[in-house]
Every structure is written in structure tokens, then in C-alpha cells.
């Protein structure tokens, strides 16, 4: 295998020329894991699956290396996009197989507000989220990335802040406004 750490470092340093190479390294691995995971779970708990796909992919791709925290962060940053694509591809493939099968849902609530006894869950399907995220990225790519990292690799606000080298509060701001916008956008469907 090529030196992933080096590729990631260049990629994170702004050199997008090797993005294709990186994708070629990472996509098949994540896809393999994804099919096993999603297949085994019958499409349930997709958010959990996505997170696990990313983690397992990381473990596998770096099994014989000792990546530092930066590499790890860079990997997750990229993996968020890859996992998103893997999951969406998978679901598209499946809905083509079984037309009318229930679409896997994820939740937009972050369940972080402690004192409220009742938590109502609003759910939506991944394919529409994928579309909505693309739209969001057109006018606010940074927030779209935050959302991607939250949903598709399960990073916390603090982790994202470390990764993007910005304050947790600014991540939280982006997250919250982007979430509200996505929520509206998906309701519209």
C-alpha cells in the first residue's frame, strides 16, 4: 500500500492533486466494511453503522502504522466524505433492488439537552440528507463539513474543533445553524 500518512498530509496541506489516489486507497476498504456492517444490521441504525465503518476503516488502513493525531484527524476528515458516499451508494443500490423498502433513517437531534424529559425525534432519510448537504455546501461549505463529520464519522464538537483548528463554540454555532437549515430543507420535501 502507498504511504497513506504522507498522502493524507499532502491532502490536508491543501494539495488536492492526490485526492483521487487517496479515494482509491480508502473507498474500497470502507465499502467492503460498509457492506458487511449495513448488510448485517439490515439497514438499521445507520448513523451507528457509518461511525463504525469509519473507525474500522481507520484500524484496518493503519494497522501496521502508528499514525499521529493529525493523521488520524485528516483521515476522519476525508473518511466523512467517503463514508457518506459509501452509504448513499449502498442505499441507492438497495432501493433500486427493492423498490419501496423502508428508507433508513437518521436523526437530526443531538440529544444533548439535559433537563427536558421528552425528546421528540425527527427523522429523515439519508438520500435526502445527502442532497441537502450538497445544497448547503454551495453557500456554506464549512458548515456542511461540520455536519458531515458529526453524522458520518460521529465526531464530537470538540473533536471537530481540534481537527479544523478553530474554537468549539464556532463549530457549535455552525452545527446548530446548519442543522436548523437542513431540518427546514428536509421538511420541505
Amino acid at each position: 500500500m502507498r504511504d497513506l500518512t504522507q498522502l493524507l498530509r499532502e491532502w490536508a496541506g491543501g494539495d488536492r492533486a492526490n485526492e483521487r489516489a487517496l479515494f482509491a486507497e480508502i473507498y474500497p476498504v470502507l465499502k467492503g466494511i460498509a457492506h458487511r456492517h449495513i448488510g448485517a444490521a439490515g439497514g438499521q441504525n445507520m448513523t451507528l453503522q457509518a461511525t463504525e465503518i469509519a473507525h474500522e476503516g481507520f484500524m484496518r488502513l493503519f494497522a501496521h502504522q502508528k499514525p499521529d493525531w493529525q493523521t488520524r484527524g485528516q483521515f476522519y476528515s476525508l473518511a466523512a466524505t467517503v463514508v457518506r458516499r459509501v452509504v448513499v451508494d449502498y442505499l441507492r443500490g438497495r432501493s433500486a433492488d427493492k423498490r419501496g423498502a423502508p428508507v433508513a433513517k437518521i436523526s437530526l437531534a443531538n440529544l444533548s439537552d439535559a433537563d427536558i424529559p421528552a425528546h421528540e425525534e425527527e427523522s429523515m432519510d439519508w438520500l435526502n440528507l445527502d442532497q441537502a448537504l450538497d445544497e448547503l455546501a454551495k453557500f456554506d461549505a464549512a458548515s456542511a463539513k461540520v455536519v458531515e463529520l458529526r453524522y458520518f464519522v460521529g465526531l464530537t464538537v470538540a473533536e471537530i474543533a481540534t481537527l479544523q483548528i478553530c474554537s468549539a463554540s464556532s463549530v457549535e454555532r455552525r452545527w446548530r445553524s446548519a442543522r436548523a437549515w437542513l431540518h427546514l430543507r428536509l421538511q420541505k420535501n
Partner: protein
Amino acid sequence: MESMNPKRWTQAQQLFEQALKLDELARDQLFAATGDAELNTLVRRMLAADADVSGHAIVSATHVFAEKECTELAAGERFGAYRVIEFIAAGGMGQVYRAERVDDLVRHQVAIKLLAGFGGSNQLKKRFDVERRILARLVHPGIARFVDAGSIPTDDGRSHRAYVVMELVEGQAITRYCREYNSNLKQRLQLFVQILDAVEYAHGQLIVHRDIKPGNVLVDAQGNAKLLDFGIAKPLSDIDDSLRAGEHTATTMRTFSVRYAAPEQIRGETVGVACDIYALGGLLYELLTGKTALELDDLTWAKTLATLEHELPLPLSQRISENWPVTRRELAGDLDRIVLHALKKSSRERYLSVADFRSDVKRFLNGETISLRSTVVSYRLRKFVQRYQLPVALAGALIFGLLSASLLLWQQQQRVEKERDLAKLEQARAEAINQLLVDAFRAADPSQNRGDKVSAREILDQASLQLANTALDINANVSMRITLAETYQSLGLSQKAKDILTFDLQAKLESAAPNLQAQVWQRRALLEDSDVALRAQFIAQARSLLKKESATSAAVLTQRQLEIGQLSQQGQKEQALALAKALDQETISAYGITSPQALRTGLLLLDEMVSFERDQEVLDIINSRLGKADLDTLQPEHLKLLRQRAVLHIDVGRFAQAQVDVDHVLTSTVRLYGTEHRSYVSALYLSGVLLGRQKKHAQSESIKLEIVRLLELLEGPSSTTVGMALNNLAGTQIELNKAELAEKTILRAIKIAEIEWPKGGITTTFRHTYANALIALKKNTLALAELESVIENYQALHSSTTSAALAEVYLARAKIWMELGEFEKVRADIANAKKSLGGVGHSEQFRNATRDLAAFTALVMPTIAAQDNGAAKTQDVRDPSPATK
């Protein structure tokens, strides 16, 4: 939605952020100030959406579903057959109104819930036509009566809005009620029994609630509890499902609250009575502790799901805080059991019916014995083990060991079941052990500690501490100690292992079962590696206790292994080997070649074969054990075999085959132990050796750096093993011509070694490396002085292992003399080196030293001879003639 551009979005974001910090009134002022109606609308809707998903707006005591964008009904407005009196509450997803029937003579008030729109579908009405009759039958004082349900077209006529009319209940959520009245345990339980009555009644009518939670249980001023929304969730979610399948709507709703939902409900499996029982368990948990059973705050959705699936609630008695009206003591024991039983992850393991649940709560209230056997702790333990099976394989061996101890006790318990009292005793013992372990695990549980990996050491120390404070009967106590000692030893903590087998045990040991006594002596023998006499004494003690045991019992097998080791140590290698072979054969025929027992005896056999150079035979044995092993699920014993095989391959230069084995060792070690573990260090070391032999020094260096880093982490920065790793690293750095770096590295090693053994073998070895670094740096004077002291120390230590090293030192010094043109001294040191190699050595170092000396001699002798006087010439050249390999 309007099309968005970055500038517009930034405005929206800023307004949204500002508004979030303000209350309603201040928000209105803020919006008024912008003068941008379009922007205001967007942000207002974003705020509503935010409230939806983060739950801020859900403050009503009722459970609400409603169309998010429908306009509020004004007071006096007609709604079907009802007139709206006032708005009661709005949740993120809907609204509740107080209303009355228009045609009622008696003013009869009801609650109307306005629910979500359902497209143009007529299904809601149809569904409710069916359900309505069933729900209307549900008449119970503990259940808010269902009046009507249906749907009305929206204003634009394009979709429908669902509504449910219910009995109006004036009260507050049960948890708030209890807080306000500071209810005591009995009052809380009595309220809960009322709820159980109601749910039991409904289940009798074949209606499941599916969304029981504090917000759905109201208590009125008279102290009567009433359940809201009975049977509402099901028809709604059915419709939801059918709509989703048919029309592919993106916005669907979840008709239950995650916080109180059973795991199977989250998974989307069939929802039944068991879900309600789980939710009731959660409700009772919160009622009695003031806290939810599982901490789901600040978790991402993925983690929430994982928590619901795997995390077990702590016993209630451990969750209550100061000044709580219910005491720890009241909860410990029966109530812990009752509630945790209802909250079990698998629906089949919970109470089978609400009646069973209620009967236990009532028995508790009456001070009677509850139905549950005391299985809570072992259940928790079992779950813990399931959960930590893979990630903390470090603790895996430990947990497995502890578990087998518990299992053993459990089996004993099964056997004595006939005799009632004895059975009770055994059960109490097993439970006590379980409790001990559970407490220890809990103390080391990452989810409750510091979010770090669970450390086996922590678990052990906790368990040992608990052992001292727990009254166990002697057999349980001893078997615990054996397991703990074994685990301590496997972690390299011999002193701890010894302590636990001796502290406060001597006097009592004799009353334990002979088999257990024997195991204690065996373990102590295994721990006694320096005092041979003491070791022999322990082995003899164990033997005398094992007379009645069968020849293939575990303790006897261990005994035979010990005795073989003893023979071998006494120098009777042939006999030891013969016995090891016999033991291995017997074990294979008793347990099979793939059994863990046979693996162990195989390893013993290999140990015994070390002194005989029969590499092919060794390889055959290893291959026979590894042949059928699945390379993806290798166990620790397999790894030892793989390591040995790799070493054999390396020795004879079969590097490609060695690489395959080393790769398997690395992968499996990471899987079993993770990277921060001694075993991983050994695996890396092996890999480093392989690279070194292939002269891949650069890769070897990075591996050795990693070894140093890990050892510093695992054993502390000034442990001897770190020193050795630094010494290895320095050697490789010298090979790489990084002499300056090597000098720094080795000085660190020497500093460590000198603390404990200023003149010991290790320090001398390190100084030897240091001298090599000095030579590489051309600091000849310093190097000579260093070599001088190294020679002195090696001579003092004089043994077979130092002779090769001594030869190396002489050779190194000879090379310096050669550079300095001191030919007499060159000749003297060549002679010295030759003398050191006078004996017979098998080691690689010995062979290398011999070879290097020969090469050097061949190289320099002609020069020396040419410089020498003619007379002695011929003789001198012949004298230190090259030794052959």
C-alpha cells in the same frame, strides 16, 4: 425555501445566533429591527426547527405531535364539534388545546391534540376508525380517556391534519409531583403501583402504550396518577410506516421517546408488552433516584444507540445523591433487582407481565420476599464481559480467568443443590464473588472512570482490595486468590501475586479443599524463580495434596509440568525432555491436539528442546499445533508458537517465511492486546530483529524507537527494559552511521542502568555499546578508556555469555590500536580475543565474533608483518591464523 447565497446565509446565521440567546419578547424586538421580512421568516423557522431537534420548546407535561407549520387555533375558534377555549402547551412538534364540545349541555372540557399533517391520505381516518373503537373501550381511572380522533383538511385543502381528543387531565408530571411534595419511598411506590394497575388493565385489553415516560404520567391534586396517550402511538406509527413505504415522505416522525424506549424498539423490532415493561422500569428508576437509568446527555446519536444497546444501568442504590428523600439503604438489594430486571436488554429476560412486575413491587411494600433470584450482579458481569470482549482483550485473559472461577463455583453449587443449606451457602459464595468482581470492574469501568481504556491492573487491584473486605468462605476466597495471582503474574507483577497468595492466608489454608491448596503451592512455585530450594519445597507440598486427583486433571497436569521444569533446571535435560514428550502425548490423547492444554504442553516440550539443536523436530511440533489454527483468531499460546517459528526461520535465513509469521504475530497481537502492551512490544522486537538481519536498518530503527516509546509508557521511563531497548536502538543507529544520535541514546540507557547495577552485566553491555559509538565518532582516547573498564567488568563477570562479548571488545580495541599504529597492542588484543573464544559456543554472537576476528586478522596481519622486523615475521603471521567457522 428561498434560494440561498453565502452573503444571505451569513446574515441568517448571525440573526439566528443572536436570537438564540434571547427570550420571545426580545426576539420580537430583534426581528422588528431588521426590517427584512423574508429573512425574519427564515430565521424564525430555523429557530423553531432548532427547538424541535434540541428539545428546548418541549416543556409541556403532555406528549405532543403536531404539524409544525400549522397556525395556532385562536380561542373561540371551532374545531369540528369542539370549540377551543385556550392554548395549553406547544411542543416542538405540536400543540395542545383546552376545548369543549359545542353541543354539550354540561360543559365538558377535553384536551385536543393537533397532530402532524399526513399528505392527502385518507388512511389516518381509516386507521382511527378501527382503533377508535378499541381505544374507546379503554376505561380505567388510571388512564386518560380517549374520546375521539380523526383528521380534518388543512386550509388549502391539499392535506390533512390529524387530531386526537382526550380526557383533560389537570395535573403535573409524576416526577415533578414527587419533587414538589418531597414524596418518600413508600409514596413513590404507591403512585407507581397505580400506574402498573392501569398498564396491566390496558394490556388485558390487548393495547400497548409504547411511549410510557414521566411526561405521559400526570398526577392530579388528589394524588391520582393518570396515563396519557394510551394506544395513540401505535396507529400513528402504523400510518407513518405505510405512508413512508407508499409515498416516500422525507419527514416522518418517531412515535416514542428514545430516552425511555427499549432497545428492541430502537432497533425497529416488534413492539409489545416487553417495551412497556422496560419503559416502566425506566420510569421507576427515575422516580426512585431522580436520574434516568442511562446517561444519554451530551451523546451523539450513534453513541446514544450504542449506549441503549450495551450500557447497563447502575444499581439504583449507587446513583442517589445527598438530600434525596429515598436512601441508599432502602434501594439496595430488592429494589435494585426489581428495577434492573425490568430494564434488561433482552425482552425475554424481563418480567413477563406487568402483573409479575406489580406483584414484586407490592411484595416489597409489604416486606415480603420478592420473586427474583439474586442474579443481578452476575447479569451485569456477563454483560460487561460481552461488551469488553474485544476492545480490552488486555483484560480479556483476566476476565476469562475470573469468570471460570465463578463458573467453577457455580458448578459446585449445582452439585450440592440437593442439600438446601449447603446450596444456600454456595449461592451466597458465588454471589459474593460476583459482587466482588463487579465492584472491581465498576471501579475500573471506563464509562464511569476517566473514559480511558480499562486497565487490567486497576481491575485486579480493586478486586484484591475487595477480597480483603469481603467475607467469603475459605474455598471461594482461595480460588479467587489463585485467579488473581495468576493474572498478576501474567502482567509481570510477581510481588503482588505472591502477596495475594500469602497475606492473611497461612493459618486458614489448611481448611480449604486439597485441590485448591495444591494449586496455591503450585502457583507459589511458579512465582519462585530465584530460590530453587523453596521452589522445590512448594512443588513437593503440591504433590502431596494431589494424590487422589486423576492423572489428567488440570492440577495434575500443572504438577507434571512443574516437575519437568525442575528436572530440567537440575541439568537432567534428557530425562526432562522424555517426560515432556510423554506428557504432551498424553495430553493430546486426553484433550486433543488443538486443545489449550495441548498447546501448553507443546510449549513446554519446545522449551525442553531448546538445549538440543533439533530445529527440524521443533518446527514439526510447531507446525502440528499451528496447522489447524485459524490465523484470524489466534490465541496467546499460538502466538508463542508463531514467534518461535519466526525465530527459527530467521536463524537459517528464511526471511520471507519469517516475514509471514511476524506479520501474523503483529496483527494478532494488536487484536488481542492492543498496541500499548508488553506483548506488542515483543512482537515489534521480533519484527526489528528480522529487519536487522536483513540489514534493513532504517526500518529497524523506527521500530526500535517505537519500542522505546511504548516501554517508557508501559514500564516507566527509568525501567531497565527501557535501558535495554535504548541499547538496541543505539546499536542500530551506529549501523546507520548516526553515531552522534547513538551516543545520546546509549548515554540515556547507561544513566538508567547505573541506578540499579553500576557494575552489573547490563551496565557493562551498555558501556560496550557506548564504546562502539565513541569509536564510530572517532573519539579514540575516550573509546579506549571505556573499553578498558568494559573489559575489566566482563572479566569480573566471567561467564560463557560474556566471552563472546569480551572477544568483541578486544577486537574493537585492536581496531583502534591498528589505526593508531600500535601494532604490538593489535597483536596482543587479537591474542586476547582468540583466548576468549577458546571455549565452545553456540550463540550467534559467538559465531559472529569468531568470524569477525578471523576476517580482521586476515586483513591486518600482512600489514603488521610488513611493519615488523624480519626475524619474527613468518612466525607471527601464522600464529593468529584465521579461525574457521
